[in-house]
Symmetry: C2
């Protein structure tokens, strides 16, 4: 095999692990399977990583960062408000449809991290970064135009995060792409009504916010 500095080899092994885990599941992905996927001998694995746990940690942080940039990219502001929301959802949804295995893997890794003592923080970090990405976008939108939020930013961010999580998971389990367009439209309309411009034609307040708690 081609000789390679450890750092690069680590990256290669991490990506091989992601491929193998996405294809076969986290449980079935052994150190041998990862080494084979990367095309190196098993010894190289333990030369680069102190333990399997160390590699899994690398996998989780890598894939989390990957998806945060994905979300931020998908939710880039567009011409109009409605367009932004719609295009963002569409871009995200397209990615889910074309890469179901990768999304499945993120859910598996979340649970793996939650169960593995000392790894809980990675699961939390994963979802906190999603929330922060949404928050960032909302603030960005708000700075650009004159927006009136019907709900606090944190509430909206959490709502978006939970919504995408739930929709993705249900799609991964049930499949049936066509059935979800109606749901996506409903959600999009709702989001747009929660974040509405201070403009003229927007619908007047349907259900007024009620004090929480």
């Amino acid at each position: 095999m081609a000789r390679m500095p450890s750092a690069e080899r680590r990256r290669q092994l991490t990506e091989a692990a992601i491929r193998a885990m996405a294809r076969d599941g986290v449980a079935k992905t052994t150190t041998r399977a990862i080494a084979a996927e990367a095309g190196v001998s098993l010894s190289v694995f333990h030369y680069c990583f102190d333990s399997k746990q160390a590699l899994v940690e690398s996998v989780i942080t890598t894939i989390t960062d990957h998806y945060v940039t994905l979300v931020k990219e998908a939710l880039r502001p567009r011409a109009t408000l409605e367009d932004t929301v719609r295009a963002g959802f569409q871009a995200y949804w397209d990615h889910v449809r074309t890469h179901p295995d990768e999304h499945m893997l993120t859910y598996e890794l979340t649970q793996y991290a939650l169960r593995q003592p000392g790894f809980e923080h990675l699961a939390r970090r994963q979802h906190e970064m999603y929330g922060e990405a949404y928050t960032h976008l909302i603030e960005q939108l708000r700075a650009g135009r004159d927006l009136r939020l019907r709900v606090p930013v944190t509430v909206l961010a959490r709502y978006l995060a939970a919504m995408t999580d739930g929709l993705t998971l249900n799609y991964l389990v049930l499949g049936d792409e066509a059935a979800w367009t109606g749901v996506l439209d409903t959600v999009t309309a709702h989001i747009a009504s929660l974040v509405m411009a201070d403009g003229p034609d927007a619908a007047p307040g349907p259900p007024p916010d009620r004090a929480p708690g």
Copy 2:
């Protein structure tokens, strides 16, 4: 140990497995752990179940049925429409808060089933039954009073299912109970606006449904 017909012993082992899996995770729950949790010898396990897979199948169907009845119970129709939605969400959410491990387990089992060849149908069945439970409730509500649905029943049911899934998962990962009340209120208001009585004071149509696709 007390003698017991096989059927009952099977139930006991299934419940022991659910306890052990909820506590330690699916991956760490071995046949020996299950037998110990049930207080029987390992031989009894293989006397009652042909294989571990057979037990897992029993676990999944049991827990699925358990949660479907839970959802149906939580979403029993109440006095007013708003009350029904609010009380339903509240009851469900209380259960999540008081039994986080059990809910976590359902997610783990879903993924286990999706990865295990020949078990995919169990994962699908699980989520289909949730959807049917929601559909059932909506139909029930519609029969009772004069309801005007802004979206098709199937869309609403899927939306509810995805919403609860996503909220639950995010709560399990992030914790922080207080932070979710605002999201729950927002969702409740939205649902109530989607299923509204043909009454007087309900808000006139904010964003009209646009044709999908």
